[in-house]
Chain length 168, copies 2
């Protein structure tokens, strides 16, 4: 049966890289980058953290896209910022399926190093530390967290694929 | 009421550029790049023109995404290769809405010049002429065609926005 992988964590931690390699490790998979869907809106675009954003429309599109792939037998890797209340939406919406929820964290020093390796216009500098701290405050279960500070991408993918603790 | 714009034409004609500028000309719009949705599949990816492709899953996702945006009051710009039989699907699926169907064509010489301006790994060289000829053979109505050879992007967008002949 197809599985849903929800991959989250602060900006710069390596969500996209891990998600892509996780998707590549599967026989039949779809990779959904939440940012790409959010950015389909052009005229009337509002940032997700601002009033008047289109997170409602976004959520409907993500849900129907994920559902279609799962029904058609694809493992789905969904990469986006997921807060505790969002997690409840996905648990309810996809309760028929196995869901692995993975929070990628990292120490501050490593996060700043990874930030420097990104394209210049994507670098967040000190701001990424604030986002890291916000994520820590969500108090997600230790079962769902990977400290990626000393791990290679392939090691992270192996942990996600092999450890049952991520199931919610 | 929100409108659906179906933008098609051979590779290299400038569909993405026109679609983006068309989306930017609207107060509230969503731009759906068909290729980006098709390429969400990672494990088990098959090219659209090969046997075992996932065009069925792709079509379901495109339809539900377009529908959600239209219902939520967005003009939708959908950019993909659309063949005559695909057009019937969209006409039926979105009959509640105004649909403008736009086929961008170009002369061979200009197409080869535009192809040379693309990033090296996207260039198609002589192959783009074959695709242009395939498109001409679809015999779409003259009402839906724009010869873009001597037009700037903003002129093309104005034609799409102002001429009623594209409505299907």
């Amino acid at each position: 049966m197809s599985k849903l992988y929800l991959i989250t964590g602060p900006a710069g931690v390596g969500k996209s890289t891990v998600s892509k390699e996780l998707a590549e490790s599967k026989e039949k998979s779809a990779l959904i980058e939440g940012d790409d869907i959010y950015n389909q809106v052009v005229g009337g675009y509002v940032y997700p953290w601002e009033e008047g954003n289109h997170l409602d429309t976004f959520q409907k599109i993500c849900n129907s896209t994920i559902e279609t792939y799962l029904e058609d037998g694809y493992d789905v890797i969904f990469n986006y910022i997921i807060e505790p209340e969002d997690l409840e939406i996905y648990k309810k919406e996809f309760k028929k399926y196995d869901i692995k929820f993975v929070v990628l964290l990292v120490d501050e020093e490593t996060l700043l190093l990874r930030d420097k390796e990104r394209p210049t216009d994507c670098q967040m500098h000190e701001r990424c530390i604030e986002l890291l701290n916000e994520f820590k405050e969500y108090n997600f279960s230790e079962n769902n967290i990977i400290d990626t500070s000393n791990l290679k991408v392939e090691e992270i993918v192996n942990i996600i694929n092999n450890e049952k603790r991520f199931l919610i």
